[in-house]
Amino acid sequence: MQHDAYRAMWERLDLDLPAHDGLLQVLGKFYGDIYMSQQGRLQGMEYLDFVLSEVHGLRIQELQEAKAQGRKVIGTFCVFVPEEITLAAGAIHVGLCAGAEAGTELAEQLVPRNTCALIKSFIGFKLARLCPFTQSCDLVVGETTCDGKKKAYEAFAEHVPMLVLEVPQQKQSCDRELWKAEVLRYKAEVEALTGQTITAQSLAAAIRTVNARRRVLQRLGALRAASPAPISGRDALLINQVSFYDDPVRFAGAISTLCDQMEARVAAGEGVAPADTPRLVLSGCPMAVPNWKLPYVVESAGAVIVGEESCIGTRNTRDLVDESGTTVEEMIDAIVDRYLRIDCACFTPNSERMDNVVDLARAQKADGVLQYTLLFCQPYGHESMKLARRLEAEGIPSLAIETDYSMEDVEQLKTRVEAFVEMLRSRRG
């Protein structure tokens, strides 16, 4: 990585330079071990390697240049914040979810210790001055989803300019009304921030841009149903992670090229692992970059991941916004409806998620489902018990894993995952 050229920029962003250097070093090593060691990778992954190596460099420089031209940067932590509106007002939308342990002690001064690793991480990154994305944001948008996040935003608001959207907890008509009012409030806030009024034309273009990115990720997902699997789960997760901070148009182009390569591979009957490799779907909490621990353990245990039922996965890409609207009002309604279809565990009831997991496991011809819950995550912890029963009834083997970002449980995780993989192998006979 060419760090020197960026130092002045990082300094301007008020990063803690020595600590940030340490982070980049760890990240580089981690990436090398987990990604560069893979055999038979698709050529198109070079784009992802490049984007990741420049995650704190070139991409941040692009954001700074855009800001210099008067554009605004909006950071989010949840797939509920309607990106179409951000883009239609000419702002840049980045996902901030942090997936590494950093600044934990500092974070624990703001949030209780029994808070999930994801929340501690975004707070830790901010307090330890490690995240150039957070430092670049003109506005950070939170949402009332789980209690952990909701309360954390109160503390976070003292450190960044925040707006919190109210996401309903049910999906009745009054909830839709509430959500529509919130989407409109978001629109007004973003317009005020950027000084640009959203028009039917700009909104339609934004809808098409975001849908195009979802479509290419859907195509990637569908190709993973092939056996042998044409891409590793690690690489597919990375693609989904990068989709949260890369430029959406450039990203969709690069992934579309990668999908062409995958298509050729599938046609030739080639893959990253032999056809008899047990196939798993991951399901549960979001795996934010650089949280690659579990996928690495799984794929080192001789299985291959063929789908991620998570916000950094199908929950973010499954549904498109209807493109037939012609007026701003119609398009807003289409956005409201699309976002209300998200099957986050924060909703009650949330039985559609159970169906979606079963459908995904079947569509990807998975041998089993690995449920992933972050320690202290109430919503997904509860649903994991319910989902285990449903999967059992459907005859789909599952294993529930509860973990966080630390490395101390890797050995135990390995044994569990390996035993699960052995079990799936012996079932196949």
Binding site: D409, Q412, T415, A419, E422, M423, R427
Partner: protein
């Protein structure tokens, strides 16, 4: 001694076991040593020059075996090893409970002995042999006698803490309140068993139940498992070596199929 064709080695966090099989898959030799902080040296001592055409290793230190054994070593997890071991020492078993030094597992099997579902305890030692071992030291009773001692206790006292450190505090304060040590010892056993029973519940306990691991030698635990689950467990002759036995059979099958393809 008959020629050894297959070796199974279980490298646990507290102890390691070895089982050797001959061409008829009969156990011809077995050995056991503590793991200590020098597992590789202990492994060499455990093997004591023994070798075999096929070796299978299991347990948390399974990767270490390749450093000591000249033959190619296959590795399997404890879950699979216990299922294979159960198929030999209790072929009808549909559920296995293993309480070892540092972990506890519950495994449900189908009629063919294949793993259907399993559970393992998480990071801490609560509910494992280590917990009982620690408490025996607190009571200044050799761990082998702790179970018999607890059998003399009467019900009525409860230990709520799951964490080893807090349970010790609780036990000490119960003693200070004048409760009989036997009653407290029984309560400590019951607290381990409570955990075990809920783990068995989560995998869907189906009898017959095989109770393996060092803790299966503890008569109080055996009685409590029966009481909490309503199922009287089968205790294998050598409960510590079920994992090594399973690994040995894994090695034996590989030996048998390679012998077949060679002839």
């Amino acid at each position: 001694m008959a020629e050894i064709v297959a070796l199974g080695i279980d490298v646990g966090s507290r102890s390691m076991e070895l089982v050797a099989l001959d061409a008829q898959a009969a156990v011809v030799d077995s050995a056991r040593l503590p793991t200590t902080f020098h597992p590789v040296a202990q492994l060499a001592a455990l093997l004591a020059g023994r070798t075999a055409p096929m070796v299978t290793a299991t347990g948390y230190g399974r990767e270490l075996v390749a450093q000591v054994v000249p033959a190619a070593v296959a590795t399997i997890t404890e879950i699979t090893a216990y299922a294979l071991g159960a198929a030999v020492c209790a072929p009808k078993a549909r559920t296995i409970l293993d309480i070892g030094g540092q972990d506890t597992k519950a495994i449900r099997l189908d009629a063919a002995g294949q793993v259907l579902k399993f559970e393992m305890n998480d990071r801490c030692a609560a509910g494992t042999g280590k917990f009982l071992e620690h408490m025996a030291t607190v009571f200044q009773i050799p761990v082998e006698e702790f179970g018999v001692f607890a059998l003399g206790g009467q019900e009525g006292v409860r230990i709520n803490a799951m964490c080893t450190v807090f349970a010790e505090t609780e036990a000490t304060s119960l003693m200070a309140q004048g409760h009989r040590p036997e009653d407290i010892a029984l309560a400590l056993h019951a607290s381990v068993c409570q955990r075990t029973a809920s783990m068995l519940g989560r995998v869907g306990l189906t009898p017959p139940l095989l109770f393996a691991g060092g803790v299966a030698r503890n008569p109080c635990m055996v009685r409590l498992v029966e009481k909490f689950t309503g199922v009287s467990p089968i205790i294998p002759k050598d409960p510590d070596t079920v994992g090594a036995l399973g690994a040995a059979h894994h090695a034996w099958r590989r030996w048998a199929s390679s012998a077949r393809s060679a002839s």
